[in-house]
């Protein structure tokens, strides 16, 4: 059960008035919604999202939906803004100094950027797995898996924690490999195991959405396929959005693919096409998409 209101809401991204800009249209919704995002919220809708780093516009007019219980892949060339878009979904983008968000990101009808929503609360509902596995080095495997709970939830008994840790590690297909070494340091595992540990850590707090930023790019092919299998299983319970450079991975692992592109370097990235993965990879509508997926344009 997410805690609200008790944590200070400042982030290092500068004063809050700089972090978000709400168009006036949304004031009515703000009054109605109140301060909570409902549990079970799973569907993201991006409306005219523009993301900035200071004066530089990284991404322009992105409008798309991310449907529940599906894997949505964001693909596109380097620098097209796909990671920026992903990080805007759990309000991590604004942690960069000078970062700015314009537009709306609706999680089941609640704009997560509205003034009365606490970013910390958003991040408890929207988990993230990063490119390089990053288990906490001072913690054991058990503590890593339980980190989200220890840090952000009070009043759990040891047996409740044990249960959640086991459930998460099983959910991440890691339990059998680590059940005898739960108190060894988290950094002693292999790369693929570490990444699964990070996934276990993310799902232990029971988010609704899982964001994955190139989760396999630091892993060997076997570990990559293991994680893809895991993703296929996880989508039954979570909404998953994944950024990937690897076209074949997007083709294998996702149900919906969104292709972002830059017209030329220095310009902001745009959404070129979004559709079922099978369509994007067998008969895309846009020539730019066709060129990109066929590898005729880097």
């Amino acid at each position: 059960m997410p805690e609200t209101g008790t944590e200070p809401r400042t982030t290092s991204g500068g004063p809050r008035s700089q972090a978000t800009r709400l168009p006036d249209v949304n004031t009515q919704q703000k009054d109605k919604r109140g301060t909570h995002i409902e549990r079970g919220a799973k569907r993201f809708e991006l409306k005219d999202l523009n993301l900035f780093y200071g004066d530089f516009q990284a991404v322009q007019n992105i409008s798309m939906t991310i449907e529940p219980n599906q894997v949505t892949a964001l693909i596109g060339s380097s620098g097209c803004g796909k990671t920026t878009v992903l990080r805007s979904l759990n309000r991590m983008h604004e942690l960069n100094p000078g970062a700015r968000v314009e537009g709306h990101v609706l999680l089941d009808d609640t704009d997560i950027y509205s003034r009365d929503i606490d970013p910390v609360e958003v991040r408890r509902l929207v988990g993230m797995v990063f490119q390089a596995p990053n288990p906490f080095p001072t913690m054991s495997v058990y503590e890593n898996a339980a980190a989200g709970l220890s840090l952000n939830r009070k009043g759990l008994t040891k047996s409740e924690k044990d249960e959640i840790v086991e459930r998460s590690l099983r959910g991440a297909h890691l339990w059998d490999e680590v059940k005898d070494r739960l108190d060894k340091p988290g950094s002693g595992l292999s790369g693929g195991q570490q990444q699964r540990l990070c996934i276990a850590r993310a799902i232990a707090v029971e988010p609704e959405v899982l964001l994955m930023d190139e989760p396999c790019s630091a892993l060997d092919p076997v570990a990559t396929l293991a994680i893809e299998d895991l993703i296929a299983e996880l989508k039954g319970r979570y909404t998953i959005a994944i950024v990937t450079h690897n076209m074949q991975q997007a083709a294998r692992a996702s149900d919906v693919t969104a292709f972002l592109n830059l017209e030329e370097s220095g310009k902001p990235g745009r959404l070129v096409e979004i559709g079922p993965t099978e369509t994007i990879f067998t008969r895309p509508s846009e020539k730019a998409t066709e060129d990109y997926v066929s590898g005729r344009f880097g």
Partner: protein
Amino acid sequence: MPQDPIGAGSGVPEVVPEGAGGLAVAGTGGGPLPEWTPYTVTGGAAALIALLLAATGSFSIVLMFVLTVVISLPVIYVWSRIAEGPRRALDRLATLSIVAAFGIAVAPLISLLYEVIKRGTARFDSAFFTESARGVVGAGGGAEHAIVGTLVITGVATLISVPIGIMGAIYLNEYGTGRLRRALTFFVDVMTGIPSIVAGLFAYAAFAVFLGPGIRLGIIGSVALSVLMIPIVIRTSEEILKIVPNHLREAAYALGTPKWKTVTRIVLPTALAGLVTGVMLSIARVIGETAPLLVTTGVVDSLNTDPVSGRMQNLAVYAYTEYKNPGVMKQAAYDRAWAAALTLIAIVMILSLIARFIYRRFGTEIR
């Protein structure tokens, strides 16, 4: 000086002409020199020089060292050039020059340690550690009061500096932005250069405002020392905190952890070993400061463990006063001074060892 190559295996060296076009050609005068060549040449030269100097009655270690370097370097270079070619010869010359330079740098340290140990062990007995100077005139007595004083004063200074310093570092690294941060960093840098006497005068003046002039307390000394310690703690802690990779913070944020919790539960524990080392470094820096303590803690002969009442002796000032005012039995006083110096060095060494132990035992590999 003999220039015969020592060691078997090398034939008569031939002069090697440069190849056409000026390319360096590998030497043909016997091939690569054996591993132990530099050692035997240097050792042999040193032995010979020592003998010669002793024979002429003008033996001194410094002279021996200088002459050995001056002679063996060219010998090795020439020999190597003939046998192995100019490139390798230059390589050897550079290596030996660096080693010699290192030797020059380390020599004063070794000499210092040697002197202190030699002279300090005269009074390194149990009396030195268990008796104070109270009522002692001439020989005997000890520095118990000074040792305890040093520990108390430095301890209190640490208690003051560490929280302030670490919190300052946390602010600068985790929260600070823009102009304010740059200004603070600048001021911290300035503070690292404050002369210690200035710190002492500042502390004294501050307390004198409230407690009247002539006041001498242990805690004033602690305050003076903390003025010197805080910038060091801040700088080293800031560097350590910077090394903590950002992706760990991001992982914590992504779990929905507020910033302050991320700092206390993730960043600080990860940086712990480095922070402790930084603190140890700052302690080692100030533990031997004499000037600020002279004007703040005063000189006293008896044991005082209370930092907020009365004067307190400490090892640095003790060594100074014993040396400056030796009284009637000069040698006894000098011996005590040297013993105090040795004790200070020993304390610093123990602290360093503790710091290393902590780092190895609790340090986590930060990736």
